[in-house]
């Protein structure tokens, strides 16, 4: 019964929907048509269906959350005395073993008789509890909607009730997004705090050397580890600024061309092509950068007589800039297109040329949106990993020279967390600290963006 409980709820709800709608219809016939009811028959149907589905689903969700705790706590009384004196961690291991034996998972053939007995008990408890839950769910799926059916009358405000429940669903959905964000931030903060126990905050924030390899054993010849984040962030901002100096002019100017000069036909043709750029996977850009652009830059550099390493910030930045162009151009184009025609007319009627109109009136009017698109692009540039891994290298050089190899925050996080990890070593935890700092940077960026947008919006509307 238990595996079929969700389909049962669905079938019951559909049945009660039909019953509710039918009852409403028959009431409508009595009062002379649906126009005399407060709500449409479908509202009454939905009302009964919700009464049918909501309580069982709530019970089911609660049960899924607390099932584990409930069953294990029922086991604890039956375990022999010596197990109860174990520490919490060891007790968890024992429970896991019991569970594995009972459900036939990994390590299912235990020789320990106590474990076997406990496993049998576990299964028995689980089944009886689940049967109980099933019964409860079926009762809850039938009794309340029966009351709801009885409750249906000409004046029942089913429409409002259904809409209120709809609103509750909307709130729940937005809560999911918010709670997820909060959860991620909290977990990053806690891991970062662990890291800052091993490495002082000031060393991390102001240290000029990044070399996260630590000796795992006493006799190992590895370095002791240096966790200065400055070179990593410098590399990030170097590459991001190269990318932005490519993407902002090209993106913005092509947006101006598209929205102001191009005919409608050109626009509908060119814009999707530009947007395809955004659809290319970053890993493709990555090998394009590593195999085509980086060698090209090196060759040009050699021809000009400067030393260029085969992995350079310039190559990564240029390709990243190309990748970001559609973010700037597409959004800016929409924003410029949305500037009202009256604004253009006003300027043209003063004898301004088309270009003067664009420069003095349209761009200022569209500025909030343009700034928004640029900041979105910057966030994208700061978070980009693949291109940098492939084209810019891994060595954390403290340099402003775009012709040398640099590394970025995201690349370092990847290299720190790839492979086998121990979560008590500062090397691994450093990833969380980097993530936290990057998060703080992008947060500040977003706040600045919001401030700018709000200021101009007040001014221009």
């Amino acid at each position: 019964m238990y595996p079929y409980i969700l389909p049962c709820i669905v079938i019951l709800s559909v049945a009660f929907y039909l019953l509710g709608a039918r009852r409403a219809n028959s009431i409508a016939v009595f009062y002379g048509g649906t126009k005399n009811l407060h709500s449409l028959p479908s509202h009454y149907g939905l009302y009964s269906a919700i009464c049918c589905a909501l309580p069982p689903i709530l019970v089911f969700v609660l049960w899924r959350i607390f099932e584990e705790t409930f069953i294990t706590s029922s086991l604890s009384q039956s375990l022999p005395q010596e197990y109860l004196t174990l520490s919490a961690n060891e007790l968890t291991l024992v429970y896991n073993e019991i569970k594995n034996v009972a459900l036939g998972g990994f390590g299912a053939n235990s020789s320990n008789q106590v474990i076997k007995d406990a496993a049998t008990l576990y299964l028995a408890n689980l089944h009886s509890a689940r049967n109980l839950v099933c019964a409860l769910i079926v009762v809850l799926g039938i009794i309340p909607p029966l009351f709801a059916l009885k409750h249906i009358s000409k004046d029942l405000r089913a429409r409002n009730i259904v809409e209120n429940i709809g609103m509750a669903v909307l709130i729940a959905c937005s809560a999911v997004a918010i709670l997820t964000t909060v959860g991620i931030v909290l977990s990053v903060i806690f891991e970062a705090l662990h890291f800052f126990k091993a490495v002082p905050v000031s060393d991390f924030l102001f240290g000029l050397k990044w070399s996260p390899q630590v000796a795992m054993r006493a006799d190992q010849a590895g370095s002791s580890g240096a966790f200065g984040a400055v070179p990593v962030f410098l590399g990030t901002f170097l590459i991001a600024s190269i990318a932005m100096s490519v993407a902002i002019p090209i993106g913005l100017l092509s947006a101006i061309y598209l929205s102001e000069y191009a005919t409608n036909r050109t626009r509908t043709l060119v814009k999707p092509i530009l947007e395809i750029l955004a659809g290319i996977p970053t890993v493709v850009y990555g090998f394009f950068a590593a195999l085509t652009v980086a060698p090209l830059i090196r060759d040009i550099g050699t021809a000009l007589g400067c030393s260029v390493s085969s992995e350079s910030a310039l190559a990564a930045g240029l390709v990243m800039g190309i990748m970001i162009i559609p973010f700037v151009s597409s959004l800016s184009d929409d924003v410029i297109h949305a500037v009202p025609q009256t604004m253009r007319d006003g300027s043209l009627a003063l004898g301004a040329t088309h270009f003067e109109t664009i420069r003095n009136v349209i761009i200022p009017a569209a500025l909030p949106g343009i700034v928004g698109s640029i900041l979105l692009a910057i966030s994208r540039a700061l978070g980009e990993t693949m291109i940098v891994v492939m084209a810019a290298g891994l060595s954390a050089n403290l340099t402003f020279n775009p012709l040398t190899a640099v590394t970025t925050v995201t690349v370092q996080i990847v290299t720190l967390l790839v492979g086998d990890q121990e979560f008590d070593s500062p090397k691994t935890l450093a990833a969380f600290a980097l993530g936290l700092l990057l998060f703080i940077f992008t947060l500040i960026l977003n706040i600045i963006a919001l401030k700018i947008v709000r200021r101009y919006r007040e001014q221009y509307e």
């Binding site: 006003g346 043209l348 009627a349 004898g351 003095n360 009017a365 101009y456």
Partner: protein, 294 residues
């Protein structure tokens, strides 16, 4: 404007309704009963339009209109919605150029020079024929910059002091100076609707145009703001020629010296405003101003 009593000395060349020529009317777009009556022409016009036809694609919006705009007069254009008066107004400074499907035929001369001649540059033309729109459309700039914009792009001033003077005189002429002189750096969009419209008028007169076109300038304003703008129009008329499109017939009667009545793309009647409103020559005009139509 003086109006002479003796018909031979009149500054207006009075056109009486032409006898209808049924033989030749087949190729004419103007329907015989919509032939312009009244006095469309003046002796020393600022702008003179002859046989102006406007088409949007295949649709003809204006059928062969001829009319003059005199110096220092306010010419009101009235008529039911969709009669082509706004379209015609936008022809006078070639704002219709921004609409790709729009074609203008005939001739429109400003001080004797055809503005639709290919040799004519549209940019200085629009500086000489300014325009105020139906909805106030201040730029997303400060009040000062809104007014200074025109003089700046045309290089009318060389020093900041000159620019300040232009801004102040323009705002004063628009009757807005006393209200905004302490907040010139605040955004123009923060003003009330009536103030915004007067700011747009100040912006238009800052480039010292010869003609100001107004496309229902008061339709988005409340009665008090409307009264102020009307007062302003009466004052501006002493220096500029004004062509105003309006739906409010009282407004046309209050601010204009001559009134033109448009009907479905035709110019039906033009005449001195008091004549048109008290003693219209054409049946359609009479129907419209008495409220039987439109």
């Amino acid at each position: 404007m003086e109006i002479a009593t003796n018909p031979t000395d009149t500054p207006f060349s009075i056109i009486m309704p032409k006898p209808i020529d049924h033989e030749n009317s087949s190729d004419q777009i103007v329907q015989p009963d919509r032939e312009t009556v009244g006095i469309p022409f003046v002796k020393h016009p600022r702008m003179s339009c002859r046989d102006v036809v406007v088409r949007y694609g295949d649709k003809q919006a204006i059928n062969s209109i001829s009319i003059d705009v005199g110096k220092n007069e306010a010419l009101a254009m009235i008529g039911p919605s969709g009669c082509g008066k706004s379209t015609f107004l936008r022809c006078l400074n070639r704002m219709n150029d921004t609409i790709p499907s729009c074609r203008v035929e005939g001739s429109i001369c400003l001080d004797g020079i055809d503005i639709y001649d290919p040799a004519t540059d549209v940019v200085p033309l629009r500086a000489r024929v300014g325009m105020v729109f139906q909805k106030p459309n201040p730029f997303p700039k400060s009040i000062y910059d809104n007014v200074a914009y025109g003089p700046q792009i045309h290089g009318l001033t060389s020093t900041k002091a000159e620019l300040d003077t232009i801004v102040e005189t323009s705002l004063s002429k628009a009757g807005l100076w006393d209200e905004v002189k302490d907040r010139l750096q605040e955004p123009g969009t923060g003003l009330s609707g009536g103030q915004q419209q007067r700011l747009c008028i100040a912006r238009a007169i800052a480039v010292s145009p010869e003609v100001i076109l107004m496309d229902e300038p008061c339709s988005a304003l409340d009665p008090i703001a409307t009264a102020k703008v009307e007062e302003l129009i009466a004052e501006l008329r002493t220096q500029y020629s004004i062509v105003i499109v309006t739906h409010a017939m009282q407004q046309a009667a209050r601010v204009s010296q001559r009134t033109a009545y448009f009907h479905l793309g035709d110019l039906v009647e033009v005449g001195a405003t008091d004549k048109v409103f008290t003693n219209p020559l054409h049946k359609l005009t009479e129907d419209y101003i008495t409220g039987r139509f439109g």
